[in-house]
Amino acid sequence: MKLLTGNDLGSGAVTWWTGNGWSIHVEDAADVGEHGEATLLAEEGARRVNAPYIIDALPTEDGPRPAHIKDRIRALGPTVRTDLTLKPADPAAGDWII
C-alpha cells in the first residue's frame, strides 16, 4: 500500500493522509493507491501539509506499517526518548520501529 505523509505547516507535526484529512496517527493513514500525487499537490497547494511525499507501507492488523525505518521513526517518535513518542506509556512501542 502507499501512504501520503508530510508535516503540518504551522506546528511541524508529522501527519498522515486519512482519505479526507490529516492525522498525526499512522494508524489512521489511508492507502492512496495511484492517486497520491494529485492529493499531494492539492493539499500542499492549500498549505494543509508541508513537504509531503508518498511512501510504501505494509498493511498489518495494527494498521499500516511504513516500509522504511525513517518513516516508522517519524510515525512514533525518537527511539531514544520513548517519553516523547506518541505512545509514552508503552515501553515496548519502540519494538514496532525495529
Binding site: 505547516l9 508529522v14 525513517k70
Partner: protein, 542 residues
C-alpha cells in the same frame, strides 16, 4: 564578553522583524516552501523528522549566564524541556513550531542572541577554541577576531548564496581544540615580528569527501584579514561548483584547481579588494578586544583537597590548567553513561548558568565535543562546583575518554540521516561504563555520524563510526586513525560494516588490541599509527 551596542542590537531586532514577515507570508501562501526554505535556513530553522528544528547560534561558543538561562527558558516554553548542544558549538531545539519561531527569536534578541546564518549556503557561525582567554598555550584570545568575523559575515550581501555552506574556525594556540583544519577556512593566529596576524588554511572539511585544509597564506596582517577573506570567498563564489551539491564545497574547488592556483587567484583578487577600503581600522579590533579583557582574578593559588576519591577522579579528568595561577578550566560532560550526547534539560542548563554566575565570572563555553566549559573557576571553589554538578547529574568524569562520544542526532531526529547514532553511542558508553576501564584506555576520541555528511565528525575520530543504510537496514562502518587536533588526520575505513551490536563488539576488540600492543603512554591513536591496521583487523574480522 562582547556586548552589543545599539548597532548590533538594531541588526538583530531588524532580523526578527524581517523573519516574522517572511513567516507570515509563508503561512499566508505568498511564498512556496521552495522559496521559503533558504530564508528559514538562514534563520536556523530546519524541517526535521518530527517537527521544525531551530538551531540557535552561540558565537564562538561563548555565552553568559543570562544567555544560558534564556536557552533553558526557550526549552521549557517552546520545546520539550531540553536542548541539544552541537558539534558547531550551537544549540538545537527539536520540537519547534513555525508559528512560535518569531517569538523565540524575539526573546533571544533580548539577550543578544540569534539564529542568524546557522544554516544555508552562507558563512555560518564562527567557531573557536573553547578554552580561549583561559588557555595557557594561547598567543592571544581568538574571540575578538571571531567577533570581527561574525560582524563582517553577518548579512554579507555578496556571500549569502554561495555554492554551499561555509564554516570558519579561529584558534590561537598550538594545540588545536577546534578542528581548525577541517573547516572551509581555518585561521591560526600567530605573532610575527611582534604583530598579530593569521595563518590561513582553506579547503578543509568532512562530509563525503574529507580533506585537510592546505595552508594558503602563512601570515595575513590583522588589518588585511577581512579583505583577504573577502578575496577567498569571492574566488569561491565565482568558481565553486554549482552543478553537483556534493562537489560544491570549497575543498573540491581547491582540490580540482590545486592549492597553488587557488592561492594565485586569491592573491590577484586580494590586490584588487584591498583597494576598496573594506578593512576596519585596528581600532575596531581593539574596541572588540576590550570586551574580552581578563576577569578580575583574586583567588589564592591553593590546590583543592583530594580526599573525596570521586572528586579526585573528576579533577584529573575534567579539570584543565589555566593561564592564571589559582584558577582552573572546568569541563562539564554532557555524556552521562547511556545518555544522549550533547543533550541537557532546562534544569541542567539553569544549573550550569548558576554555576557560571557564581564561580566562573559569568561565562560558559560550548565545545565542539558537545560539552560545556566553565572557563574561570578558582581552585578553591572546585569542590563546591563539583558537588553542584554531581547533584545535577553533570559530574561525569569522562572528558576525552571512550564514553565522551560525539554523536550527531542521527535517524532519531534528522531527516538526512541513514542510521541512528545515539543508540550506538549509548551502547558503547554502557559497555565501557566502568571508570577504571575507561581511564586505563586513556584518551580515545570516538565519534559517530548517522550519514555521510559527517556532523558527528567520524572522519576525525580516533575511532569513527559511520551509519549507512544497507537495503533499509542500519549498518555501521568503522574508521580508525582520524584526528581533529593539531595532529589532524582523516580516519580510514577498516573493512566491511557491522550491525549495531556488532560495531560495539568491534570497538571493544579494538581496545583490547590496543591494550596488548601499546608502548609507554601511547594513546590508542598513537598505537594505531605505529602498528597499522593489520592487528586490529585480524582481531575484529579474523
Amino acid at each position: 564578553m562582547y556586548k552589543y551596542d545599539n548597532y548590533d542590537q538594531a541588526m538583530v531586532d531588524a532580523r526578527v522583524a524581517e523573519f516574522r514577515d517572511q513567516i507570515t507570508r509563508r503561512i499566508a501562501g505568498d511564498m512556496t516552501e521552495d522559496q521559503f526554505k533558504p530564508l528559514r535556513l538562514m534563520n536556523g530553522l530546519y524541517l526535521q523528522l518530527h517537527a521544525y528544528m531551530l538551531r540557535v547560534a552561540i558565537p564562538y561558543g561563548t555565552l553568559d549566564s543570562r544567555q544560558m538561562r534564556m536557552l533553558a527558558h526557550i526549552a521549557r516554553k517552546y520545546d520539550r524541556d531540553y536542548g541539544h548542544f552541537t558539534t558547531r558549538q550551537n544549540i538545537q531545539y527539536n520540537w519547534i513550531k513555525l508559528e512560535d519561531c518569531a517569538d523565540i527569536l524575539e526573546e533571544l534578541a533580548t539577550v543578544e542572541m540569534h539564529a542568524i546564518q546557522t544554516s544555508g549556503n552562507c558563512i555560518r557561525n564562527i567557531s573557536s577554541d573553547q578554552y580561549a582567554g583561559a588557555a595557557a598555550d594561547e598567543v592571544t584570545d581568538p574571540r575578538p577576531w571571531a567577533e570581527l568575523l561574525r560582524q563582517w559575515s553577518t548579512f554579507h550581501p555578496e556571500f549569502s548564496y554561495l555554492p554551499r555552506k561555509f564554516k570558519i574556525a579561529v584558534i590561537a594556540a598550538s594545540e588545536d581544540r577546534a578542528a581548525m583544519r577541517l573547516h572551509d577556512i581555518g585561521l591560526e593566529l600567530i605573532r610575527q615580528d611582534g604583530a598579530l596576524g593569521a595563518r590561513v588554511f582553506v579547503g578543509g572539511g568532512m562530509g563525503r569527501t574529507p580533506m585537510i585544509a592546505p595552508e594558503i597564506n602563512p601570515f595575513v596582517k590583522a588589518d588585511d584579514l577581512l579583505s583577504y577573506l573577502e578575496a577567498c570567498l569571492r574566488v569561491y563564489n565565482r568558481y565553486g561548483r554549482r552543478d553537483n551539491m556534493y562537489k560544491a564545497r570549497i575543498k573540491i574547488l581547491i582540490h580540482e584547481i590545486g592549492a597553488d592556483e587557488y592561492r594565485r587567484q586569491v592573491a590577484a583578487e586580494f590586490a584588487h579588494v584591498k583597494t576598496l577600503g573594506i578593512d576596519p581600522p585596528l581600532a575596531e579590533l581593539e574596541r572588540i578586544t576590550a570586551f574580552f579583557a581578563a576577569p578580575a582574578y583574586d583567588a589564592p593559588d591553593v590546590e583543592p583537597d583530594r580526599n573525596d576519591p570521586d572528586f579526585a577522579v573528576w579533577l584529573d579528568q575534567n579539570v584543565k590548567p589555566h593561564k592564571q595561577a589559582g584558577y582552573a578550566i572546568v569541563n562539564i560532560s554532557l555524556k552521562p553513561i547511556g545518555g544522549i550526547p550533547g543533550d541537557a534539560t532546562s534544569q541542567q542548563i539553569d544549573v550550569m548558568a548558576d554555576l557560571a554566575e557564581k564561580y566562573s565570572f559569568d561565562e560558559l563555553r560550548v565545545t565542539h565535543a558537545q560539552n560545556i566549559v566553565l572557563p574561570y573557576v578558582a581552585k578553591r571553589d572546585l569542590y563546591a562546583v563539583w558537588q553542584a554538578l554531581r547533584d545535577a547529574e553533570l559530574a561525569d568524569a569522562n572528558l576525552d575518554l571512550i564514553s565522551d562520544i560525539i554523536a550527531c542526532p542521527g535517524l532519531d531526529y534528522c531527516s538526512l540521516a541513514n542510521a541512528r547514532s545515539i543508540p550506538v553511542a549509548q551502547k558503547i558508553a554502557t559497555r565501557f561504563a566502568d571508570m577504571d576501564r575507561q581511564r586505563d584506555l586513556g584518551e580515545l576520541k570516538l565519534k559517530i555520524s548517522g550519514c555521510i555528511n559527517a556532523c558527528g565528525h567520524h572522519h576525525a575520530g580516533h575511532i569513527g563510526i559511520l551509519g549507512v543504510d544497507k537495503k533499509g537496514v542500519e549498518n555501521y562502518q568503522l574508521t580508525f586513525g582520524g584526528s581533529g587536533a593539531e595532529d589532524v588526520s582523516i580516519g580510514k575505513i577498516i573493512g566491511p560494516g557491522f550491525d549495531e551490536d556488532g560495531v560495539v563488539d568491534a570497538v571493544e576488540k579494538a581496545t583490547e588490541v590496543y591494550k596488548a600492543l601499546r608502548q609507554g603512554d601511547e594513546r590508542f591513536l598513537d598505537t594505531y599509527r605505529r602498528v597499522g591496521l593489520a592487528p586490529f583487523k585480524e582481531a575484529i574480522y579474523g
